[in-house]
């Protein structure tokens, strides 16, 4: 079983060899006891039928002790052999983790080498990502070795118990504990690590800049992977905006908030705007822009490349007031909590400092859409959507990296593309068929 980091920290690797040796010592005590009895009997000047019977009984007990001694020595050998492998790997892991964590990187509970949430320039973040991948390659075989050594002890012990009728069988091997992290030397494990690091980098603020001019304030959050969220708070009075539900927007002063999200290449992938109680979310999908508008009276309009489409049942009601967004708090989405029509909250945004986790309003939309789609009977839709959105949802809820969990599915689907680009793609597929 490959342990996660917290389980490994509870292991007394140095004590295992001694404990394994004690298995052998104990069967040797059994053998010595049989030797003592047999020797004492042979020295006894005792003849007769009872003497013959005693010789037979103590002879059998001696044979038993030889069988147990052989059994115990074999098991002890298996344990001590595995212990030597662990004794070799464990200090290397501790040294390597110590070296990694002496700088701007750290190792998470799933043994993924991550970037610390500290201020860093884009170039520095790129260098650190490469360094993290390099350290990861050094760490992976050692982590794998922990699992293999443990499995060797377990399999060896199990096999030795199976070859004697002196004790009952041990539980079936299939019932033994499973790996706590994906095999770090497998394609799945490597994808899990890359995806975990990519998600963290895409949602960790590396730089924050603010600018203001009369009637307009801009906050730019640059993430560790180079993607950006640009928040703009301005007075719509100065412009004449097209209203998302048709007609024209207000001509009187009305504050408007907008969060635009750009991928690391600078391409806009989502935007979130709210003004006068109305909200518009736009997501870039593979087939173009998807927009979801909610008017101030709650009416919903879903458009794909400017053409109105029917959203799945329930999507409209859930999209803008999803409970998970509230559970997460405003910080990660910057959506104001506790309102029926959540708007981007300046107060919430003020809490988003360098090192904070931030995913923008798109996260809430993705989670809401995912839940609605998952409840629908079409398995195909569920399967198609269960990739990145569940991964993002899992990440937001602190579940990222669960072995065999959504991140794995996400990693398989994402390939080399930017993590949140896929979110837009899948939302679009679901909403538009």
């Amino acid at each position: 079983m490959i342990p996660d980091r917290s389980t490994f920290n509870t292991w007394d690797v140095a004590g295992l060899s001694g404990a394994g040796g004690e298995v052998e010592n104990s069967v040797k005590r059994m053998k010595k006891a049989a030797d003592d009895a047999r020797d004492a009997l042979s020295e006894l000047n005792w003849e007769g039928a009872a003497a013959g019977a005693a010789s037979s009984v103590f002879g059998d007990l001696f044979v038993e002790s030889v069988i147990w001694e052989s059994f115990g020595e074999d098991v002890s050998r298996e344990i001590r052999s595995g212990a030597r492998r662990l004794e070799s790997a464990a200090p290397k892991i501790k040294f390597l983790v110590g070296a990694i964590e002496s700088g701007p990187l750290y190792v998470d509970n799933q043994w993924v080498v991550m970037l610390r949430p500290v201020p860093m320039s884009r170039n520095w973040a790129k260098t650190m990502a490469l360094t993290a991948a390099n350290f990861q390659n050094q760490l992976n075989p050692l982590v794998k070795e922990l699992g293999e050594a443990d499995e060797a002890i377990a399999t060896g012990t199990h096999g030795r118990f199976g070859r004697t009728d002196r004790v009952g069988d041990l539980p079936d091997l299939r019932r033994s504990p499973r790996d706590q992290v994906p095999d770090p030397m497998s394609e799945e494990g490597l994808a899990h690590q890359d995806q975990t690091r990519a998600l963290a980098m895409a949602t960790t603020v590396a730089e924050r800049t603010e600018s203001s001019e009369p009637g307009k304030r801009t906050v730019t959050l640059t993430m560790q992977d180079g993607s950006k969220h640009v928040y703009t708070d301005f007075d719509a009075y100065h412009r004449r905006l097209e209203h998302p539900l048709g007609g024209f927007g207000p001509t009187h002063p009305a504050p408007m908030q907008r969060v635009e999200m750009f991928d690391p290449s600078g391409k806009k992938v989502s935007s979130y705007q709210s003004w006068s109680g109305a909200t518009r979310v736009m997501l870039l999908t593979e087939d173009g822009w998807l927009s979801v508008d909610q008017g101030s009276r709650g009416e919903i309009l879903v458009m794909k490349d400017g053409v109105e489409v029917d959203p799945p049942p329930g999507l409209a009601e859930e999209l803008f007031s999803h409970p998970k967004a509230t559970v997460l708090g405003g910080a990660i989405t910057a959506l104001e909590e506790g309102t029926k029509l959540p708007a981007v909250s300046d107060k919430a945004l003020q809490k988003v400092h360098v090192g904070a986790r931030f995913a923008g309003p798109g996260l809430a939309i993705g989670m809401a859409a995912y839940d609605v789609i998952s409840a629908a009977p079409e398995d195909k839709c569920v399967a198609a959507f269960s990739g990145i959105s569940s991964a993002v949802g899992g990440y937001g809820l602190g579940l990222a990296g669960a072995s065999g969990g959504p991140l794995t599915a996400a990693a398989a689907g994402v390939g080399g593309s930017w993590v949140f680009g896929y979110l837009g793609k899948k939302v679009g597929e679901m909403v538009c068929g």
């Binding site: 389980t7 295992l16 005590r29 003592d36 005792w46 007769g48 103590f58 377990a154 009952g168 019932r175």
Partner: protein, 101 residues
């Protein structure tokens, strides 16, 4: 019945040694050793099987120790019986008066 040669005191001495062997088997510590192995790697496959092993060996070892104890007790009893029989026979024989009254 074949010929019998026995020294009850030596037989008691042997019974004592056999008792000691039984106690040594019973307290050999194999079950405890497996428990120690399990405690070294919490949550592991090793711990899973070592815990099961600690349980699996407990009863067979107790039964083995019991064999020694039973054999030792029988031997000790026999020593007493041999001695009593010999003493009784001696007393009975000594009661026989040989010669004129």
């Amino acid at each position: 019945m074949s010929g019998v040669k026995v020294d009850p005191d030596l037989l008691r001495g042997f019974a004592g040694i056999a008792e000691g062997s039984g106690a040594a088997v019973g307290s050999c510590g194999l079950s405890e050793a497996f428990a120690r192995v399990a405690a070294c790697l919490p949550g592991s496959e090793t711990a899973f099987y070592a815990s099961a092993a600690a349980d699996a060996v407990r009863e067979p070892i107790r039964a083995l120790a019991s064999c020694y104890a039973t054999a030792a007790a029988a031997t000790r009893t026999a020593a007493g019986v041999y001695e009593a029989t010999d003493d009784e026979l001696a007393a009975d024989l000594l009661k026989i008066e040989v010669g004129p009254e």
